[in-house]
């Protein structure tokens, strides 16, 4: 089946799903209190956007700050650790172990120290995003072909030039991959902290909507955040593709 056919299949199946859902909800096959019909969800979009947009902006701002910190630390440390073999061999087992731990366990402590305020959410974002960035950057730097470094050194490149003109461009695909994953993780960290601590933001808003059984608005809000996230990630992907056209 060609691309048009595939697209038609996608649209058709999603439409069928939406229709079935609408019918099931309207005919009370499922409790409409919990599962509102799609039309109700769409109808509440207006209210949601009005109410949620400032909250979403709040959350996204915290995410941006946390993400920037995590990427700065992750790339900086990653390049350092990745290029010094002993350092890498000594620290990486711990980094990998920390990466596989549920970082959510640390969130209560962050809230305890920083209070029920934005910095806690930002730190939550940093915590979640830092590790994938670090791990991927270390891997990317480690895998830079040694012959490229040898050649540049033989041409008289200084240490700084080696990093700037060889190591980082060569590791760039891995760095970008880490940054892409890190973005979603940063958002998770911020939302999770907001939900846990009741910090003002999108996470808290969504929890409120859930606890007040405002299903239509909750689903609309969920859709809103999802769309934002998908767009952000797809943009990063497109950037990645463009920058990596030499591969």
């Amino acid at each position: 089946m060609d691309r048009v056919g595939v697209a038609r299949l996608q649209v058709a199946s999603l439409a069928t799903l939406a229709l079935a859902w609408e019918a099931a909800s309207r005919l009370r096959l499922v409790d409409p209190l919990f599962v509102p019909p799609p039309t109700a969800v769409v109808a509440s979009m207006g209210t949601v956007i009005q109410q949620a947009l400032p909250r979403l902006g709040d959350t996204l701002l915290k995410t941006a700050v946390g993400y920037a910190i995590a990427v700065g630390l992750g790339v900086g440390l990653g390049v350092l650790i990745g290029s010094v073999q002993t350092l890498r061999q000594v620290t990486m087992p711990y980094v990998v172990a920390l990466y596989s731990l549920p970082k959510i366990l640390v969130i209560p402590w962050i809230v305890l120290i920083l209070g029920v305020r934005a910095p806690a959410a930002i730190l939550g974002g940093v915590l979640f995003a830092f590790f994938p960035v670090l791990v991927l950057v270390v891997g990317g730097v480690r895998d830079v072909e040694p012959v490229l470094v040898t050649i540049a050194a033989s041409m008289g490149a200084s240490r700084w030039q080696l990093y700037q003109k060889v190591v980082i461009p060569a590791a760039l695909p891995a760095i970008l991959a880490g940054m892409r994953i890190g973005l979603v993780f940063a958002l998770v960290g911020v939302l999770l902290t907001e939900m846990f601590a009741g910090i003002r933001g999108m996470g808290f808003l969504m929890q409120q909507l859930a606890l007040s059984f405002n299903a239509a608005q909750l689903f609309a809000a969920t859709a809103l955040v999802s769309v934002f996230s998908i767009v952000a990630v797809l943009s990063l992907d497109a950037l990645n593709q463009h920058l990596g056209k030499w591969r």
């Binding site: 072909e145 012959v147 490229l148 040898t150 050649i151 540049a152 050194a153 033989s154 041409m155 008289g156 490149a157 200084s158 030039q161 003109k165 060889v166 461009p169 060569a170 760039l172 056209k245 030499w246 591969r247």
Partner: protein, 261 residues
Amino acid sequence: MTAEHIVVRDVRKTYQTATGPVSAVEGVSLTVHAQEFLTILGPSGCGKSTVLAMIGGLVPPDGGTIVVNGTAARRPDPKSVAMVFQDPGLFPWRTALHNVWFGPELQGTARSAREEAARRLLESVGLKGFESKYPRELSGGMRQRVAIARALALGSPILLMDEPFGALDEQTRILMGEWLGGIRLQARKTILFVTHSIQEAIALSDRIVVMTARPGRVKDVVSVSLPYPRDLNTPDAVALRARLWSQIREESLRAMAQEQA
């Protein structure tokens, strides 16, 4: 009296491996004259690449001295020496043009000057029109030509080449050898060439240094006085080939036995 460009005296190199120290090079001495094409010929593992790396300042010798263009070779000196390896090592994220101007870029040369020089070099290696191609879009032979252009861009009088055509198929190899011979006369460079191919050595060199199997020592130094362009089917060439092969064969067998050990 031609000036001596490279003087290697009694160098040694020992590597520490997991199974103990291994002597790679033991007491190698040789001299390369200005604008001479000298080939180091030897079986695999005989230390010829190590000698080249020491001359290029990439590896410090454990004993002996190396003087390149008047100064001791302790670190890479792009003003005197440019290196080309078997792996062209082109930066995959840079176009051919940007690869060629890498050396001048490191040295802070102005962009317009670098660009003009790089274009001229690419044209001289026969790759005019390929300036914006990425390495993955080029064949093996083309990549190696870009690598050579990149080395030439440094403007250094000496070129060290470590089996540059080793990864190419036979036909390309022979053609690249012919091309290098032409470039060499044009560019007036001193070339120190490492290979295990007798055919290449005879086709390109003024003198050939034959090395023993590990630990590498100089077994023989042979002058090649065949006229250019080199025809490898003349009686002189055939005799030379036979002589070199008998020496190499002995060392190759020894090298093979070392690998099994």
